[in-house]
């Protein structure tokens, strides 16, 4: 079999979903709700994450509807403030932060390293329950009037000047933070302590390196936002004065503590997506990732440097000029490891045997849109330009490019790529390629105009705007409608594929990871016999060798069967 194989589903005529797998092993709702199987927990997360994503998306729809016209005519200004706040809170804390780690990370990390489960399976389940508790509390908050401080809870607005549900939202985020901490902790222990024999650090898939780096951030950064939220809640309730200038407090202290987490948080959000992109690009160009070591170390570098730059969110807030200088300089540095990844992925594609399945389409979208988003981040990291662009739609466009154009596309790439492994079924390729293209077009129509709006001066978090900005806003809303269709399609056809999708078999993509060398869907214990890793990561030559051996065995078996038929007949 040549290395230039287009996806061919081997054994299509005889492929069957294996009778014993993690889905069929046990039945009943409680077997899912009380499971300690990392794969089932991943499915629980996938369902709940999708639910919260659509709520956040609906809120985005409301925002874009209001912004169709320059006046505040669809909803009251206060309501608008609540809508964009809840949109931010739900999307950041209940979708983006857990998205890839809690679904794909949970499902795949033990399989990729050759382990039976994560190190702490019950803690994993607790993670999901904490996530659900936080999420339901956030929903409750929405129903009893929401909160309007912006997802950043800036003080003293959030502590003194609003009478909305800061406490319940704060508690929801606090609880979700714990969920995140426990997930990260679990991943770090698992990756260190449960790798199969022969699975050295530099034989690990880059997906693992990316999750390892993100997990370090989850463990070290999240507690700081936890204490920041606790202080806000205490300030609101008891008036302790820690952020109140009248009592000698400094509102900026909250921002220091908040952004100390929230900047690393953006790397928590993007790193796992970058891990997905590495896997997808390697598989669909049939090549080892160019500069494996550089990409691995760049993940860790992003995590480490990510801790040094948080005050670039505070350039205009009153920090000292010297702090502005230092943080601006450090921010320039943090862009370098991300750029290294983009270069290495590009060099991987160069002279690769590329096929354009849906995961790769999403990966291309990621590379282009994340590059734009990342570069605009450099504009914002430079304090001179930031003073002009901050608090405008330029910022909104920047983070939507990296988070939606980047992270969400990576998430979709990953869901499509591993869908056959998770469910044993293929999604419909043509329809999904269409959805990917629709998403890409919709995304650009929605968010590119916002860069222009930002440079023209349209402020963010405003329900009304000067009439000369209307045309670009209408473009943006139109794009959002297309984007919505692009996101709805996968839900529909993925659910459809559960019953009617083609059977996938072990390794429909001819990929090299350990997770692809076993059945789809996998056994509850992942592997029938624990594997030994005896080859490098992304070793396509090894895979070819194994497949030749596999074919040889099948041929021999077939011949022996024929012989026994002949002899028994004769």
């Amino acid at each position: 079999m040549s290395a230039h194989t287009i996806v061919s589903l081997l054994d299509q005529s005889t492929a069957k979903i294996p009778k014993d797998n993690y889905i069929t092993r046990e039945n009943g709702l409680l077997s899912w709700l009380l499971t300690s199987d990392h794969k089932r927990i991943a499915i629980l997360y996938l369902i709940s994450l999708s639910f919260f994503f659509f709520i956040g998306g609906a809120l985005a729809g409301l925002i874009r509807l209001e912004l169709l016209t320059p006046q505040t005519d669809l909803m009251a200004t206060d309501t608008y403030n609540k809508v964009f706040t809840m949109h931010g809170v739900i999307m950041v804390f209940f979708f983006l932060v857990p998205s890839v780690p809690a679904t794909l990370g949970n499902f795949l990390i033990p399989m990729m390293i050759g382990a039976k489960d994560l190190a702490l399976p019950k803690v994993n389940l607790l993670s999901w329950y904490l996530y659900m508790a936080g999420g339901l509390l956030a929903l409750y908050t929405m129903m009893v009037g929401g909160v309007d401080t912006g997802w950043t809870f800036t003080t003293p607005l959030s502590t003194h000047y609003v009478n909305t549900n800061v406490l319940t939202t704060g508690l929801a985020v606090f609880v979700a933070g714990f969920s995140s901490i426990l997930t990260g902790l679990n991943f770090i222990v698992t990756i260190h302590k449960m790798r199969a024999p022969g699975m050295t650090w530099f034989r690990l898939p880059l997906f693992i390196w990316a999750h390892y780096a993100a997990s370090i951030l989850m463990v070290l950064a999240t507690p700081v936002v936890a204490i920041a939220i606790v202080l806000v809640m205490l300030e609101r309730t008891f008036g302790i004065g820690v952020f109140d200038p009248a009592k000698g407090g400094d509102p900026l202290l909250f921002q220091h503590l908040f952004w100390f987490y929230s900047h690393p948080a953006v790397y928590i959000m993007i790193l796992p997506g970058m891990g997905v992109i590495s896997e997808v690009i390697s598989t669909f160009s049939r090549k080892r990732i160019f500069g494996y070591t550089a990409v691995a170390f760049s993940s860790v570098a992003i995590a480490v440097f990510g801790f040094f730059v948080w005050a670039h969110h505070m350039f205009i807030m009153g920090i000292s000029n010297y702090a502005v200088l230092v943080f601006s300089l450090l921010t320039m540095l943090v862009a370098v490891p991300s750029a290294i990844k983009i270069f290495n992925w590009t060099f991987t594609l160069y002279k690769g045997s590329i096929t354009f399945e849906t995961p790769l389409l999403y990966a291309f979208g990621f590379m282009g849109l994340f590059t734009i988003g990342g570069m605009t981040g450099v504009f914002l990291g430079s304090s001179g330009t930031d003073i002009h662009l901050t608090e405008t739609y330029f910022i909104v466009a920047h983070f939507h490019f990296v988070m939606v154009g980047g992270m969400l596309m990576a998430f979709l790439a990953g869901i499509h790529f591993w869908w056959p492994k998770i469910t044993g079924r293929m999604y419909p390729e043509k329809l999904s390629q269409l959805a990917a293209v629709v998403t890409f077009i919709g995304f650009n129509f929605t968010f590119f105009p916002q860069f222009i709006l930002g440079t023209l001066g349209m402020p963010r978090r405003y329900a009304s705007y000067p009439p000369e900005f209307q045309i670009l806003n209408v473009f943006s809303t139109a794009g959002a409608t297309i984007l919505g269709v692009g996101y709805l399609l996968p839900v529909l056809y993925l659910v459809w594929s559960l019953k009617y999708g083609a059977i996938a078999g072990n390794n429909p993509w001819q990929a090299t990871g350990l997770e692809w060398q076993t059945q789809s869907p996998p056994l509850t214990e992942n592997f029938a016999v624990m594997p030994i890793m005896d080859h490098e990561a992304y070793d396509y030559a090894w895979l070819e060798g194994q497949q030749q051996k596999d074919e040889q065995q099948h041929r021999q078996l077939h011949e022996r069967q024929k012989e026994t038929e002949v002899t028994s007949a004769g």
């Binding site: 070290l220 700081v224 220091h256 005050a311 000292s320 000029n321 702090a323 230092v326």
Partner: protein
């Protein structure tokens, strides 16, 4: 089930613990005494130095880090490092505010 120990690692004995206890008690007495002596700007530095020494003894001996793997030692350092980044960069902002505009 017989008492097989789960992992062969150094079992730290009472003698070490007693020595550390003594050192910690001494450190406490020392730090209280030092706070009553006027050493100018050295006072907080000495208080923190003694506290850090005591903390180090607890970490190394009571928490067995001295006898632990490199990974454990690295983990402890990572935590301390991140904490130091938090306070130093935040304080750098506050202290440099007093320097005025350039």
């Amino acid at each position: 089930m017989s008492g097989q120990i789960e992992h062969a690692h150094t079992i730290v004995g009472p003698r070490v613990y007693m020595a550390i206890l003594f050192a910690l008690l001494l450190g406490t007495a020392l730090t209280v005494w030092a706070s009553y002596v006027d050493l100018g700007f050295w006072n907080p530095i000495i208080a923190l130095a003694i506290a850090t020494t005591k903390a180090t003894l607890v970490v190394l001996f009571f928490m067995h880090v001295k006898y632990s793997t490199k990974l454990t030692k690295l983990t402890v350092c990572a935590g301390i490092f991140t904490f130091l980044i938090l306070i130093s960069l935040t304080l750098a902002d506050y202290i440099s505010r007093a320097w005025g505009s350039w």
